[in-house]
Symmetry: D2
Subunit: 486 residues, 4 copies
């Protein structure tokens, strides 16, 4: 069986010697750590549902490398249907986890690297594509999670990589050997770093000739010597250490980010997919970003579904479900959420084949998709907070609720509709808090803003992809302006 079970996935992570720091301490066991485990549970959902007959049509695909049934997260998209099913799978997992399930970055990375290495091989005669396909075969056969690592720390944004005072602020090749290369640098905001078996490193922006050393792409096992992980804090993270199940909002699922440091890491040539060919860095960044901007038209929509549902429950529990303004706000939330989904579907529907056969989304529409994702989840969250009411942020702790003496006050005074238990109401409030302010807000808000590139990055792409000259010609013809002027 190619596809791992949840237990096999967790076991496989236990075998990786991550070097991790969290709150100033070196961790021995990441898999069972209460802060980290919910992230692994979210990724594990991608294994679980692949074995679920109701969902396997979305979670699995037929490998174009082997003809075998594989997890879609390791698949190269072979057509428009694959692109659409990817988005549907992501919405499903967002619905099931209400969190970032982390595995998309790797999927988007392998699809981007595939077509770009193909073109490098075709144009330059280098064997990057063959190496990459070998790596991918290994990933598919072992049903691995790949972390796509793109974002460098970047230092001073007004300077290019080679202009930085510290040359390591973008990851770079510091040595080329016969058997491989040595790299130094770091990748920041690495979502799901501790959930992954492999790291696929890509350049973070279009490199020019003087930055050629920074045009590097490779894959290494995530437990490799030379890699250090420092765990990032999330809003409300330590509630997971308190032992309860209410205050965390989402007890089972979560996400995480790490700073990943590559300290003079050696990478053998067969794992190197770009090394100095800076002219291809732009295409790689553009395609990866494009795929990942499509992704948000799925995953964030799924989380949005949960948030809309939670707001509807909150209204019911408050006895306010029939108020016209509440129903209208729920409709607005649905409308915004489905607009995001429409964008995810549309850029998939208009996808086309690259030279390698792997399908690429429509880049203009994918950027439009992501641009909306930088706006609408914020408005959906605002409306959820409106419907929920202030209780969401003034509720006493679970310990007070469980307290033998004062628990009764909370049960009595925070009761909403008489037929709904106070605990139910508290749980829904905490879930909304989790998505709008707590650990999941990191994914639902900030990642919606900056993941796959900050808003301005999409605007630059939108301006570039839209054919403004053609629009000017159309206008000139209608206005009766002589064609010679154009």
């Amino acid at each position: 069986m190619l596809m791992k079970t949840v237990e096999q996935y967790l076991d496989s992570l236990r075998n990786i010697a991550f070097k991790v720091y969290l709150f100033g301490e070196r961790l021995e066991n990441t898999v069972d750590h209460p802060l980290i485990r919910p992230s692994l549970n979210a990724v594990a959902k991608s294994y679980e549902l692949a074995h679920d007959s109701q969902f396997e049509h979305l979670l699995t695909a037929c490998s174009n490398l082997t003809g075998k049934k594989i997890n879609r997260f390791t698949h190269l998209h072979q057509g428009v249907d694959d692109l659409i099913n990817k988005v549907k799978m992501q919405r499903l997992l967002g619905q099931q986890t209400a969190a970032c399930f982390q595995r998309c970055v790797g999927m988007d990375a392998i699809n981007a690297v595939d077509s770009v290495t193909y073109e490098m091989e075709h144009d330059l005669g280098l064997d990057y594509h063959r190496h990459f396909r070998d790596f991918l075969l290994y990933v598919q056969e072992n049903d691995l999670v790949v972390e796509g690592a793109m974002t460098d720390p970047k230092g001073d944004r007004s300077l290019r990589p080679s202009q930085q005072e510290d040359p390591d602020l973008y990851l770079r090749v510091i040595e080329k050997r016969d058997d491989g290369i040595v790299v130094r640098g770091a990748k920041a905001h690495q979502t799901g770093a501790l959930s992954a078996h492999e790291i696929l490193v890509m350049p973070t922006l279009t490199m020019s000739e003087e930055d050629a050393d920074y045009a590097v792409c490779f894959a290494v096992p995530s437990g490799s010597e030379g890699i250090t992980y420092i765990y990032g804090r999330q809003s409300c993270d330590t509630r997971r250490l308190e032992g309860g199940t209410i205050d965390v909002g989402n007890c089972l699922y979560g996400g995480h980010e790490c700073l990943v440091i590559f300290e003079d890491l050696f990478v053998p040539w067969e794992r190197v997919f770009m090394c100095g060919e800076f002219r291809y860095s732009g295409a790689l960044v553009e395609r990866f970003a494009g795929y990942h901007r499509q992704s948000y038209g799925g995953c964030k929509v799924g989380v949005g579904d949960v948030l809309i549902g939670a707001a509807a429950l909150a209204a019911e529990y408050n006895g306010a479900a029939k108020a016209a303004h509440v129903r209208d706000k729920l409709t607005e939330m649905i409308h915004l959420n489905e607009t995001l989904y429409a964008c995810g579907i549309a850029c998939s529907s208009q996808g086309t084949a690259t030279a390698s056969g792997t399908y690429l989304i429509d880049l203009l529409l994918a950027n439009v998709c992501k641009q909306n994702v930088t706006r609408f989840p914020y408005e959906i969250a605002r409306l959820a907070e409106d419907i929920a009411g202030g209780l969401m942020v003034t509720l006493p702790s679970e310990k007070d609720f469980r307290h033998p003496e004062i628990g009764r006050y909370i049960k009595k005074y925070f009761k909403g509709r008489a037929d709904v238990s106070t605990e139910q109401r508290m749980r829904v409030m905490r879930l909304i808090e989790n998505i709008t302010l707590g650990t999941a807000a990191v994914g639902y808000r900030t990642e919606s803003m900056h993941g796959a590139g900050s808003p301005q990055a999409q605007r630059i792409m939108i301006a570039r992809q839209a054919d403004l000259e053609q629009k000017k010609r159309l206008a000139a013809i209608i206005a009766g302006i002589d064609g010679k002027d154009f």
Copy 2:
């Protein structure tokens, strides 16, 4: 040859004895009337481009009735590709005319009537569907324009049809005979009424049993005895009577609306497709509205392309094209416009077959599409007005510009960039005025708002189509609320 040329189309209209009033006068010749002709030109574009090798893949289709190549506007959508190509065709025509090209309503009507009559025939054993297909065959074989007539005057909105003081405020059957029916009433806001060969009348809302007489659907030739057309005024309409080419903004293309009165009109049974089967009225309204809400994700996007292009030209002519805020506003316009397109594509991509084989768009996404159309064109127009500058509404008349003495003042003082003629600049200003305030604003703004149903109609459908109960279940599971509560 099945498909008419532009000249054949115009000639065929000359043969129709429309009974039309405009500005208090009975018109004899509609085809060459300066107010009406631009509308016919816009429709004619759908004939012209069907013969253009560059565009025929969008403008034509293979009839499922005959296997012949027909104009797509007379086609029943046979798959997702047909639905997507419809949207692309509409965007193209919007780009080419910067106006409402009017032929969509009929296309959307025939597709809706097809599947509903099929279901009526299947469920009730009535031969409506056979009649309808005969009618459609005639339309296809003669490449006709069909006007889809749905919107009744409606009188007092707080009352249902049969409750109105005047029972004719919704169109109704006043007599059933052996050979046919007699109907009385009117359809308001009939876009393109004078461009059409046939009128396909549908009920305007879901009828209940007491309103069964209002559940009527039929088709008649547009020149039938008993039909009177009263032409609707548009903003700036009479500029078309002034003789110039600048002040009209869009010299060639336009749109129009009529009040169409059916005064005791006889309809033979073979042209009747619903008569009293009120239970099917809801599906007919919902599907027609759905198709037409999809349409706006195409046509309005095409007009938007022209407006964006015009704004970009205006900025260039003003010497302001490089200002960061101007470029950012153009990007925002593109972003909003493409979001509409994404919605049009998405609801098509997720279309499914009805029982008759005709494909229906995804209704939720089509309503989301239209809801955005009630907002974004307004913001695009606002941004266009921002970029254009005040000159757009303070320009002297074309006659002043052509005036032997004072024309030189206008040429001198309204010159923008030195290498651009003042006339060019005036033409672009007038085009922007036309779309944002003038005749085309009726289509780009008000029709975006109310065409295919006012905003609230979409909100009702969005609330109904979205499965809120499922979202509540998803939230409850994540929140750890016992399943028994659901």
Copy 3:
């Protein structure tokens, strides 16, 4: 009696020999021209209400020059109450005319010129301020309308005045004589040009040394030899020539703009208030713009009141007034409108005395006011169009309505609620059309956008007026960042 009556005002205009062109013809009589008269009626309201005991507290003031009761439009603001009453007067006149009443520009100009000439006199010893006060005394004693003329044609926006290929694209001094100066150039978009007795010309932007010839400010009678007016077209302008009272929407009141050309016009020194002192041009522009950005927090709010009222009537006539979404949209319109008013009041309330004693509004808040005016009227208009329904743009003409045969169809089929006449409904529809698409849309939309400076002009001022450095210090203190870093 200092203050003119309406008849005296109109008569005084009859005595001015305007040289005007409109639609390619030289006009003899402007006062009774059907296109122009509604503008004069709107200005005349400022005379009428000054004699109305209900409103005179807003329309009049006590002159600080003479101690006499004068029309507020000729007054120098002597305190915060004057600034606030100005806004209230403007809201009142907007409510009464639903149009631009044109007299504000001059009021804002005299207030700006007063304090700047005072400072020039104080700093440089020039007698501009004495000259200006003499001019103002004449205006007050004769209750005149002053047109404030600021906006030059500007040509290529990327070039400064002296860099333009044609040096006349900004108005400039072409000769200085012993007895006065000669100027050449034009002012565009001159609102109310034909309603005014005097023109007060100001520079359009901050001039630098090489543009010193363009730093010129003066006043001349509007009928002076050397001045030519070319009337600007407005959307739907010619409906005023058709003879009816319905289709025009607003039968009595309107506004207008002209291109005003100064062809080698001589100005005597006693009417010159700046001539080459470029360092003072910035303050003059900034203060005039500030006053005028305040003004929009009054006049547009008044027009907004009428539009909200019209939408409420339309809803009533349609039988839709009780629908929750309609009431909510009306509330939103009110909310947006009152937000504009709040900004107008706030910048007045925080006004301070200049060196001349004339009060200046808070510049930051006045720019914030205007920035909101570039947005909210568009949204209010959109909501009005939503509530009105499509009928607003598809109504047949008044001539059809009056037609002996077909008039009955219109009366029958466009009846809304049974107790409301069709004519009432038509009138309200046409009024909404007038403000959102027709002649008044020029004032309510485009002028809201570009009058007193385009949106970007306010953004530059907002960024400049807000003390961002102080905000950074506040943040640094809270964040615990050592003060040395600042």
Copy 4:
């Protein structure tokens, strides 16, 4: 000396025997508890600045009761200047604390109770007003913090107080005695409960006759027997227990909310200000809410200033301060923030005297102010998150930063501009996190939404306060509709 120092304030709190629970434990010392102390520090700022010559003109006022100089938070507004200075004081304290400084609720409560009790005394001959003024004198003379307690738990929102299954879900009088009354119930979301010396309880909505027992208003010392406080959780609250100064974002200042339970509490008659006079409950709620909606036009603007400053610093530290889109976003944040301020100022400027002499804000504009507060801080926060970048939510912990081995990685890789320390950058990121997601987000977001009434409450008031009938008349006159129809 009437006015306390900071130390006197803190000492006075040490003498109050609060019965408080937090995280399931009974607290002995609230003043020095690390979770609570920042709240007290924020309130203490109102004492500190009253002694600061730079700010005392805002923080103090001359008592109309005694003629003495008192803290403005205990003052009855005696004119428009008082209302405006209140808003300026609140903006100042928001700037200095970047948190909710809690003392406004009491100030708003005493002003509302003053005029309503005056009217009750005048109308009904009851001595509530005399009692209230005695209480207020005590508050002024001792410079006390008063908690205004309005919001009841409310149970099922679709039911009125007396219809609830549990009658205690709204606070009510359960016994009237000769010497006083006994009350039972709770007040939820009580901001600053543990910072206050006295609690002033008011009804939460307009009561009808059957709910007369719920129409009760009184004041008691906050340490009274029978009152229990349960501390509410905030996002990221426990970071204050970790011992560092970076991760908390705002080390010194904060806010808090409690559930306050009144279990059969006795109140002597001299501290009762309403007891059953349900007809006055509406005015009390409306005025208190009005004052508090004004307040948000001050305090939230001050916090907004800090957030804008923090975003500007973040951009600088990232080397992105000169990017056009960053500067434009900062301008937009300023624009929105100043719009809120304008609304706060405007409703103050248009205030009027009540019968008691205490000034009341303009209720329409105060509701407009608060309605904007439910929107703009969310957008300001979104823009801050945009400018800050993802680092804000992925930064490792302070302990990692201080760690002897891995701290160097963080210093190296999270360095932005070379001349800015990594710690500075971290501190600014954490401050932005604090306001947008952390403890201060409770105040800046959720309180902006629900404090002083949820958005729909303002919409109801806006609809009621705006004279829609007058607007309809204005429109009818302009439209030429016969006055008889109105």
